[in-house]
C-alpha cells in the first residue's frame, strides 16, 4: 500500500546502512569485509491540521499493523533521477550478485548517485557512474539481489521505497490543544 499522499512531510532523514565485518587490532590496523547488504533507513515527521487527514493517517497505521505490513514511500526530488531517464531496460541475462548492469535503450542521462528500481524486485539500487543515452554498462550498488532476465524494465523516475515501520508502537502528539497532530515515522527498507 502507498503512504497517504498530500500530507506535509518535514524533518526527513535518510540513512544508508551497509553492515560490514570489521576488526581493529591493538596496533590500530584494521581488516574489513563487505557483506553485500545495503538497507535504506530513515525518519520523517508528519504534521496534520485537517480532520480528515488526522483520521486517514491513523487508519493507515492500522492497515500497516506495526511492523507487519510494508508500504511504498515516495519522497520525490532526490529519489528521481537528476535528468529525465526513460525506457531503460536490462540487456542480457544477469545473475544475482552482478554489480555491473548492462542497460539498453536509455533515453536521457544517468547521473552518478541516481537511485532506481528493477521490475523484478522492490530494492532501491544506486547508479555509481554517469552514463548517457543508448546502451551501456552501469556500476551499481548493492549487487543484484535476484537473477534478472533481459528486457526487464528499470525505473529511474519517482523511485518508491518499499518501507516498513521499525516499531509496533506509533505515537501521535496532539499539539495546539489538539488542532495539530504530529507523528514521527521511523522506517527501514523492507528487503525482499
Amino acid at each position: 500500500m502507498d503512504f497517504p499522499s498530500g500530507l506535509i512531510i518535514s524533518n526527513v532523514k535518510i540513512k544508508h546502512n551497509i553492515p560490514t565485518l570489521f576488526n581493529r587490532a591493538l596496533n590500530k590496523k584494521a581488516t574489513a569485509n563487505d557483506r553485500g547488504i545495503h538497507i535504506i533507513e530513515g525518519s520523517f515527521d508528519v504534521t496534520i491540521s485537517s480532520d480528515a487527514d488526522k483520521r486517514a493517517i491513523e487508519a493507515f497505521l492500522l492497515r500497516l499493523r506495526g511492523r507487519a505490513n510494508p508500504f511504498f514511500l515516495r519522497l520525490g526530488n532526490r529519489f528521481t533521477s537528476a535528468s529525465p531517464v526513460s525506457g531503460a531496460k536490462v540487456l542480457g541475462f544477469h545473475t544475482a550478485g552482478d554489480d555491473i548492469l548492462r542497460l539498453q535503450t536509455i533515453t536521457g542521462n544517468i547521473t552518478n548517485g541516481d537511485l532506481f528500481t528493477i521490475n523484478n524486485s522492490n530494492k532501491v539500487y544506486m547508479a555509481l557512474e554517469n552514463i548517457s543515452t543508448g546502451s551501456d554498462f552501469l556500476d551499481i550498488y548493492p549487487p543484484l539481489r535476484k537473477d534478472t532476465s533481459s528486457e526487464t524494465p528499470v525505473n529511474f523516475t519517482d523511485v518508491a521505497i518499499q518501507a516498513r515501520l521499525t516499531s509496533d508502537v506509533q505515537e501521535i502528539s496532539y499539539n495546539e490543544g489538539g488542532l495539530i497532530h504530529v507523528l514521527t515515522f521511523n522506517w527501514e527498507e523492507a528487503l525482499d
Binding site: I37, A96, G97, D98, R145, D147, L191
Partner: protein, 173 residues
C-alpha cells in the same frame, strides 16, 4: 563479500530434502549447489573447538514464522539430520563462492520452539552435536562383561571376576 551458509539434510521417510540457507542478500552457489537467501537464518551461536574430541555443538536459530520448518519439527525430521555450516567468500560481481571453510559439521538434535511475546519474535532453536558424537557411545556388543563375552565365546570364563557395569546405549529415532 563474506557470508555464512547452512546446509541441513532432512530425511522424511526416505525422501531426502536439502535445506540450503544463506546469510547473504542474494542466492549463493557453492560447489554447484544453490544456497537461498531467504530470511530464515536468525542466529548462529559460537562454535567451540577443543583438543579433546567432544560432542560440543552450536545452536542455529531459524525463523519460527516459517511454517515449513514447523512441519518438519512435527514430523520429527530434524533429529539426527546432518548439518554443515560454512563461512564462505564470494568475489565482487558474482554469486559463486571461491573459498570456504567449515564452521561446524554435525547432527541436529530435537529443535525447540521459542515464542517471545515481549520482543515479538518466534524462533526455532536447532541444537547440534558435532560429528564426533558417535565416539561417545559405548558399543553394545563390546562390553567387558561375562555375559557379552560368553555369548560370543561359549564356556570361556575370562571375564568371570570382572565387575559388571551398566552399558550406555543411546537410542535415537
Amino acid at each position: 563479500m563474506q557470508c555464512t551458509l547452512v546446509h541441513i539434510k532432512i530425511n522424511d521417510n526416505g525422501v531426502i530434502f536439502d535445506y540450503r540457507l544463506a546469510t547473504s542478500p542474494f542466492d549463493v552457489v557453492l560447489n554447484g549447489a544453490t544456497f537461498t537467501a531467504t530470511g530464515d537464518l536468525l542466529k548462529i551461536t559460537d562454535s567451540e573447538e577443543t583438543n579433546e574430541i567432544s560432542k560440543t555443538g552450536i545452536t542455529v536459530q531459524l525463523d519460527g514464522l516459517n511454517q515449513q520448518f514447523q512441519a518438519e519439527i512435527d514430523a520429527g525430521n530434524f533429529v539426527r539430520a546432518p548439518i554443515d555450516v560454512y563461512i564462505v567468500n564470494v568475489p565482487d560481481g558474482t554469486n559463486v563462492v571461491d573459498t570456504y571453510e567449515f564452521y561446524h559439521r554435525g547432527y541436529c538434535d530435537t529443535p525447540t520452539m521459542n515464542v517471545d511475546y515481549d520482543s515479538g519474535t518466534v524462533s526455532i532453536g536447532v541444537e547440534t552435536t558435532n560429528v564426533f558424537t558417535d565416539l561417545d557411545r559405548i558399543p553394545d556388543l563390546m562390553r567387558s562383561s561375562m555375559a557379552s563375552h560368553s555369548s560370543r565365546h561359549n564356556g570361556d570364563k575370562f571375564y568371570e571376576y570382572v565387575a559388571n557395569g551398566e552399558g550406555e546405549a543411546i537410542w535415537y529415532i
